[in-house]
Structure formats: structure tokens, C-alpha cells
Amino acid sequence: MTSLPSSSAAPAVAKLAAAAAAPGHDAQAEVEAEAYERTHVHGVYEAIAPHFSATRHKPWPAVASFLQAQHPGSVGLDVGCGNGKYLRENPAVFMLGSDRSAALVALARSRLGRSEEPDAAVAATTTTNAAAGSGVEFSHESGAAISDVLVADGLSLPFRDRAVDFAICVAVVHHLSTRARRQEAIRQLLRCVKTGEAPSGQVLVYVWALEQGNSRRGWDEGGEQDLLVPWVLKSTSQTQQSRTLRRGLDNPTTAKQDAVVANKSGEPPAPTMPAGDGPAAGTGGVGHTDPVVFQRYYHLYRKGELEEDVLAAGGVVITSGYERDNWWTVAANEAPPSQSEK
């Protein structure tokens, strides 16, 4: 095996779904789903933020073209903005980024102040993490992108109704552990975009696909949709961001961080969570240089499921597609007039 296998999250998710279905237990079920995501999503991103950020600087083409198509002076949301890589894709629009991870938002903010040099910015955030979190990056006079960031939960967005022209939500909704929560996340996005005036505000949602026949992850149609996907972080100290990270356990040359081998029968590595701010020791340890293993929860979307969730959220699907292991859809609150007759 060249990399850590993903493991099934199905039992945990089944429990969450059962709790949600139990009459009169809605609030408790939400608390449980949230606790699960705190462990398997939020806590992970807080701990891996600098490393994660360093691996995230290439925009997805479908996202980039959606942003480029926005009218100058439009106001847009990027919900789950991560390190903010999409906040300056189109400098003619005002972007408001939000993320559940304060560590990632701090990184995004530090990048906003830097001049146009995405790769250099990434390098800087990974080597000078202390500066990234210190909040002293305000005085860059030139090239400052017209955008802003804040910390917020996608299910409790602090934006007023119909406030903005468009929204994007990239690689976020698949981290929510029940279908009701995924649909609610889309409903929240739709709530924030303008409606009742042409053109209706559009929402781009981008999620990981179950159908990944061309990737080495081994997932495909008919497979399990709820998974824990390991993120391997080599260092066990706070200085991890300055080190070269070993990719995979046994074969450092092949494994990509996200490239995991499905291993449905194998014993999954026990979920390991960071204690406090720093990463905790990983499982399966065999020595002092052990990588730290964080288990991120994913719901892999099957074909058509994202569109179903948009409809359940009260939206309409404007267009949708598939791009390198991901499903995406552009949704709105109402169909554009020209498409009313198909």
C-alpha cells in the first residue's frame, strides 16, 4: 500500500441520520452532527491549515470561468473560502469570503494584503506562519484585492437576505454529515443571492464526486459515499509548516495528499484528532517521525445528487457538469425567463 486508505464513515453517518429521524430529537441530532463535523472537519482544518493552504492554489476551471463571467462591480460570496484563493480571481468584483476555520481565514486575510503573486503568497504563508496569524498585514498599499474575509458557519451565515449578486461554495458542502444539513447549506447560499430582479443571483456549488474512475483513489459508481479520508501531516511540532512534508508513509514519491486507496475490507486507521491547537500524535505509529493522520469526513456525491439537493433547497438548476472528480452545479432561486420553455 502506497498511501493510507480511506475508511467508511457509514456507521457514524447512519447513526446521525437515525438520530435526525427520531421524532422530537431534531435539536439533539443537530448537536450530534455538529460534534461529528467538529471532530472530522473543523478540527482537522484548524490543525492542517498552513499545510492545506500550501497545496491549494490552482483554481478549478469551472470556478474560475464562473467568477470571470461576473459583471464588474458585482458583490459575491465565497462560502468556505479556505485560504482565499478565489477572492482575487476577478479583481473587478467585491468578494466576501467566509470560512468555518479561523486559521484558514487568517491565512486568507494575510494573502489579501499581498500583491498579485499567488504562488509567492502561498510560499510565504507556509514559511512564515507566525506572521500570517499575527494580523499585521494591513498596510500593503498597492494591489490589495477588493475583498474581505470573516469567520462563519455555512449553516448560520451572517449575510442579509438577497444581499449579493452571486455566491460560490467550493469543496465545502460535501463535508456536512447529513443530507438535511447539505441541503440547508445550499438553502443558505440561495437565501443570500438577489432574486426578483434580473438577472437572478447565481450560486455555484462544487463537490467531490463518487464517480472518480480516472483517479487512483479507487472510488466509483456504486461505491460507498460516506468516507473518512486521511490527511497526512508529517510533523508533530508547531514548526511543521516550514518542513518538507513527506507524502505518504512508505512511498514518498507516489502518494498525493488526497490520493488515498479505497480499502473497504481493511481495518481503517482509528480517527485521530488534534488536542488543543496542535496536532496530536497519529495512529499506527512506528517511530518518532510518524506522520500525524487527520481523518476528514466526506460525502461523495453521486451523479444527479447535487441537482436533487438544489431542488430540495428550493432552488433551480441553471447548469451543471463534471470536472476532474467533482460535480458542480450553478443554481438560482428562479429559472431565467429565456429557459422557461425548454
Partner: protein
Amino acid sequence: MKVLTLNFLTCAVKTCKASNDSFPLHPKDAELAKDGVEINPQLLVNVLPRIDWTALRTTSTELGFPALPEQPPTAEDLTSDEKMLQELHTLLLETQMLEGKLVCGHCGHEYAVREGIANFLLPSHLV
């Protein structure tokens, strides 16, 4: 956090959203700074229709700036009046709230702003 951003923000508590008192949020103990941001007249003119002008007037006054006119400028006003354009640019895009709190006028919840970043995560009893 920019003043323009504040114009899009309301309380994160779902039950507050129906109330007019939840918008705009009220700055408290605000520590402000001014960034140099290159002026982009087209962006300002185009962003104008997305701004809730009444709320912006409230925010501006609460932050201690001179009162804004009752009516928003038109696109023509802005393009022909360089001083007005510059003032609006300074208020909306250059003025940063670095520290302080944002208070919901409906539920009273206070959201912290630290190092220019507002945090809207709710304690579990408010979710």
C-alpha cells in the same frame, strides 16, 4: 473588516433575521484604521445598487464619521463628483475595523472583531 462588508452583515442567529433590528449590526469599542486602496470608480458605481444606504448612514454615524446624505448618490452623481467618489471610496473600502465588537440590535449578541476579522461562530445555545 471593511465598512462595505458591514453593510452585508446581519446577525447569524436564524431567528434574528426576520427582525429589522438585526441589521445593521452595531459597532462597539471599534478600533479603526485606514488602508490605502486604489480607487476603482467603476466598481464603486456598480456596487452602489447593492448597498443598503439607510444602514450605511447608521454605520457611518456610529463609527463617528460625518452624516451621509439621506439619499444615495446616483451613478451620474458619483461619476461627475470626484470628491464624493473619493469620500465614498475611503469610507467603504479603505476604512477597516480592526478590533471591537458587532452587536445585534435584536438579540444583543456580540460578535468579536480581532485583527480585522469578525467571528460569527455561535455558541451552541444560539445555533
